[in-house]
């Protein structure tokens, strides 16, 4: 496991630094090639989004000079760059990548976009051939981990912006927003955004009332809605299920008597007021009415922040998943490493055994079945005893950092070759020679 990762993100580096490191999509393939051309780098790929630039590599000795690559490639001095960089190796690099793919390292934890971006970066690097076996394994796992985090925790489930909290609240009241009517009182950026969200979730029609009628018309046109004269507000407001209000009025414009009037005209069907005006447009007295649900900006803000808190809790669960996945990945890598050695060790000794038995048979002539069995058991016993310690040592070493050393030693001691580059005849030869 000789993974190395270097990069900057929104936490480690200010926008000015990230800007200088950002790599446009068109240059990504070339950049990947440059990265793998850097001394010590075997495989490499680059994730470049507005919040992060990261180079993930698999290196020959686990300590390639990736900082040097960044300095050269972006023409930045160590003084300018190094303070903002983070660098991870081996297990830490794996963990970091898992966290990034699972959107735990994102500015908005749990946002879904990052996984797509990582996948794109992966596809690009794969296409230019800078991602092969090692990184391939790592990323396949990272995607699986991201999926697991998404399905086993609620990290990605709650929405965070005020507009989407408003939508969620509306859904808690009305169930479906299909066919509901929205009334915007006081045209503004925020209310427009909220309305857009509501429409996206199925709200059917929209009314707009504004002190300046022209602005109401303008906004209504954008939504294919209907502009209402401000004076008609109280007469038409009861038609709306959801009212987004954000006027600059110094006093509440919706008072208790209005609420009562609306409710009686609506046969007490509930109304949802999203009051984003400061000072508030909906009087607290009116909000107390049965069937009127009024949320002011603070209520919404609170809902948003509680979502963030929920996410934090879920993020802890996700971190636990990631830790266990990192362990699993590491264990699997190592086990994969030792398995071929064990197999070729077994093959090797078995070849020797067979060759020796054949030789004995040649000298002594055919054996009786009993003798045959005895010889078989005897030789097998010896071989198993001889193999026992090396194999257990290999298996134990697989879980530790020294795996590669042990593998090397065993291979050298027993003169083992990679299965792929040792044709069977050659193996026999090795056997008979001894």
């Amino acid at each position: 496991m000789r993974y190395q990762l270097i990069g900057v993100n929104h936490k480690s580096a200010p926008l000015e630094v990230r800007e200088r490191l950002a790599i446009p999509e068109s240059r990504l393939p070339d950049c990947c090639r440059d990265l793998t051309a850097h001394p010590g780098v075997e495989e490499g790929m680059i994730i470049s989004t507005c919040n992060r630039v990261e180079m993930i590599t698999h290196t020959t000795n686990g300590s390639a000079d990736l900082r040097g690559f960044l300095h050269d490639h972006f023409h930045l001095t160590a003084a300018e760059l190094d303070a903002h960089l983070y660098e991870f190796r081996e297990k830490d690099a794996v963990r970091h990548l898992f966290r990034v793919a699972s959107s735990l390292d994102s500015m908005v934890v749990g946002e879904a976009q990052i996984l797509g971006q990582v996948k794109e970066a992966y596809a690009t690097a794969r296409a230019v051939g800078t991602v092969r076996g090692q990184l391939d394994q790592l990323f396949t796992r990272a995607f699986a981990v991201a999926k697991r985090v998404r399905s086993e925790t609620a990290v990605g489930s709650s929405s965070v912006s005020i507009a989407s909290v408003a939508v969620e609240l509306a859904k808690k009241i009305f169930g479906t927003l299909q066919g509901k009517t929205v009334f915007i009182v006081g045209a503004g950026k925020m209310s427009e955004l909220a309305a857009r969200h509501l429409m996206a979730h199925g709200c059917a029609s929209i009314f707009v009332a504004n002190r300046t009628y022209e602005r109401a018309i303008g906004l209504a046109q954008r939504f294919n809605g209907q502009a209402i004269k401000f004076d008609d507000l109280y007469n038409s407001c009861d038609r709306a299920d959801i009212v987004i209000t954000s006027t600059g009025s110094p006093h509440a414009i919706f008072r208790r008597e209005h609420g009562e009037q609306f409710l009686s005209r609506r046969k007490n069907k509930p109304m949802f007021f999203i009051d984003i005006a400061v000072p508030r447009d909906v009087s607290p007295e009116m909000a107390k009415l049965d069937g009127i649900f009024a949320y002011d900006i603070d209520d919404l803000q609170q809902a948003v922040s509680s979502h963030v808190a929920d996410r934090r809790h879920e993020a802890e669960l996700a971190e636990a998943i990631i830790s266990s996945e990192v362990e699993r990945f590491e264990a699997r890598l190592h086990t994969l490493d030792v398995v071929p050695t064990i197999v070729s060790l077994q093959d090797h000794l078995e070849t020797i055994r067979q060759a020796e038995i054949d030789r004995v048979r040649g000298r002594m002539g055919p054996l009786t079945p009993d003798q045959e069995m005895a010889v078989e058991a005897l030789t097998r016993g010896i071989i198993n005893k001889v193999m026992h310690t090396p194999i257990t040592t290999l298996k134990t070493a697989a879980r530790e950092a020294e795996a590669t050393t042990v593998i090397d030693v065993v291979r050298r001691l027993f003169n083992l070759h990679d299965k792929s580059d040792t044709p069977p005849e050659k193996k026999n030869e090795v056997g008979t020679r001894q």
Binding site: K172, F174, K267, D290, G291, A303
Partner: protein, 270 residues
Amino acid sequence: MSLLWLRFALACYFIGLIYAFFALSRTSDLFSRIALHAASLGMVFHFVSLVELFLSGHVVWASVHNGESLLAFFSMTFFMIIYAIYKTTSPGVVVFPIVFFLTFVAAVDEQPVLSTSFVQHKGWLVAHIILIFTGYAALVLSFGASLLYLLQERRLKAKKPSSLISFLPALEVIDQIGYRSLLLGFPFMTLGLITGSIVAMSTYGHVDFADPKILLSILMWMVYMVMVFTRWNSGWRGRRAAVLATFAFVAAVVAWAANYFSTIHRFAAS
């Protein structure tokens, strides 16, 4: 034998009962699935129990406890219909305890069998019982829904962020469940009372309006009518509807309890 099946059903409903208590404080998909499966299994046992009862040949429909069993079964049926339409088990919070209670009482012991031989028209009697119980079951659901409505309304009004995450369906969905149960139950209740009067007329020649059972039934029916009317006319829901529903429910329970006092509607020959 029928009683044994009923006890099996009771055990299943018990899981539902536990769910009802837990669901108020926390949300668990797994638990609600378990409760749902347990409840379905309970209904199967329950159904077997009712069929056996029917096949046993005695017309024991009119025993108090068999009636309770039947009512519990109808309530569960309504619950399942609601689940099929709205995919929510939350009415179970109210329905499960009631069903459990009814089944529990019904499963306690063998019943003294009522001699209904003096009833002239058995068909009317059976119709009366089935109609009334369907009406009752709808009332149970509607009562449950109105309580849930209150709960959800309070959560939304409290504006505590945690209230956003709750097992309760949307306010309007709860409202619809309640209203539809109410609308569905009303004709059954009405027809049930009419068939009841027919049975009484044909048996005694008159309807004794001074009988507590009949008085209470009429009171319950009137409250029921007021509920349907206020709902239809001015869309009463929330607190006011819940008060009415509770009132109707209590009246129904008392009317049921009056079986023990009423002279003409008494089941077990005393």
